[in-house]
Symmetry: D2
Subunit: 144 residues, 4 copies
């Protein structure tokens, strides 16, 4: 994890809206810290669909995206029924890995940031090269 996720929404290309489920809260009355990672994942899946590479197509090409690292910073708690905007942007890309950064806001207020590092693997779980479209992503994305 070589970068710090920006807390300025304008640094992100895409956002996806999620409403907090009661099942995601814990006895402290807030969303349990482990429940943020599925939010990041859901936003990541929607982002890939948005840029024309739905996850099913990536898998159909024989590539899975293993999560190598994940980190979350919890700044303001999320509560049941909160409407969360998960902002997503692509981070640094290498031959075999890429990073994504996330900003979670509620009504424009920063609640959390996150980062995930991914590697391409074969269906058997062996590391492989990233798909070409992803390796060249830095050239495609406006302003990145």
């Amino acid at each position: 994890m070589s970068i710090e996720p920006p807390t300025d929404r304008s640094a992100y290309d895409f956002s996806h809206r999620i409403r907090v489920r009661f099942a995601e809260t814990d006895a402290m009355g807030i969303v349990h810290h482990s429940r943020y990672l599925p939010y990041l994942e859901e936003a990541r899946v929607e982002y890939l669909r948005h840029i024309g590479h739905p996850y099913h197509e990536i898998r159909a090409e024989g590539v899975d995206m293993a999560v190598l690292e994940a980190g979350v910073q919890y700044r303001q708690p999320l509560k049941f029924d909160d409407v969360v905007d998960v902002h997503v942007a692509m981070g640094p890309i290498t031959r075999a890995t890429f990073q994504m950064v996330y900003l979670l806001t509620v009504d424009g207020v920063v609640h959390s940031t996150g980062i995930t590092v991914h590697g391409a693997v074969t269906p058997e779980g062996r590391p492989t090269r990233l798909p070409a479209w992803l390796r060249s992503f830095s050239n495609e994305a406006p302003g990145t």
Copy 2:
């Protein structure tokens, strides 16, 4: 689901102990109702191991145990750090399905009952016959 799980512990062959995780609680301060099903599953897996049929061996024989139905009755809430005894017994068995019943107690006090109905399926998800040891289970189990 053709039977009612008994609330008398002596009706069960086996029990497995689970301590409630904080991550399993919700904003009502109790274990979320969806979190009981993984408890039943964990106890079921231990029960199958106990009777000499660990799940890995069952799968190695090309059979998966799909869950066809599940029901839970919530009588007393479970709380963080509670030590729960999940009592398990085999219920009615047909050519292609079997039922299991569960009783959850804390310090001997009944908190919940549950029932699951399972069917044998191939790795592709198609229904198949139960393994022979399971079909003949009613003969093996003392007092069932």
Copy 3:
């Protein structure tokens, strides 16, 4: 659980759409059976909002809706990225409890049915009477 959920969509008043998260799948490649209950809950919360009684308002009146029983029938598996319509209808209502029934479809095809039984409790967890609007619900709902 005194009723059987209908499998005909026209029997339901309301439906809510949920897309399956990858985090909800299991090693059989399908949605884990415990993950349906949060789908039912999310649809229930949206249904209550739809009929003018958002859950926050119910709680603000000092009433929590404890889950007393839940049951799910799994007919066709759900898979990652499936778009699921969760159809919801109110079932039988007593002085202190109410039931809700659910039908899960994907592209109009029945995948699952469910039922939950709820009781009104105080914030301390003691049973209390249902709110008046809920006790009189059978009169309000067209066609129920």
Copy 4:
């Protein structure tokens, strides 16, 4: 997160054993990456009990331990039924925060490392000072 979790088991004071549930796997056939955080939490709770400060007592003193940051590195996947040893050690402690580091091994082989940063908060969620026993922890712990 100011430190790197060691991958040498001897650097950890305590370990707690967890068996992977089927419910924690995903459609890639491995434990979903979000499911590691509850493992760390379960081990943290057992560690606090082990050093004489069970979580219930900490909360009874009016202090909750909010998670401020969490990070996990996934080196080797975990699979259903794996028996995981979660090694735990206290990391740097400040007036208001403390860090914990984790090493996950299966049969002695490193599978994952993790780190969590915690802050003491009041039941209302406001930051407060760490309990005295925790602030002085660095003096108590042999070899830290």
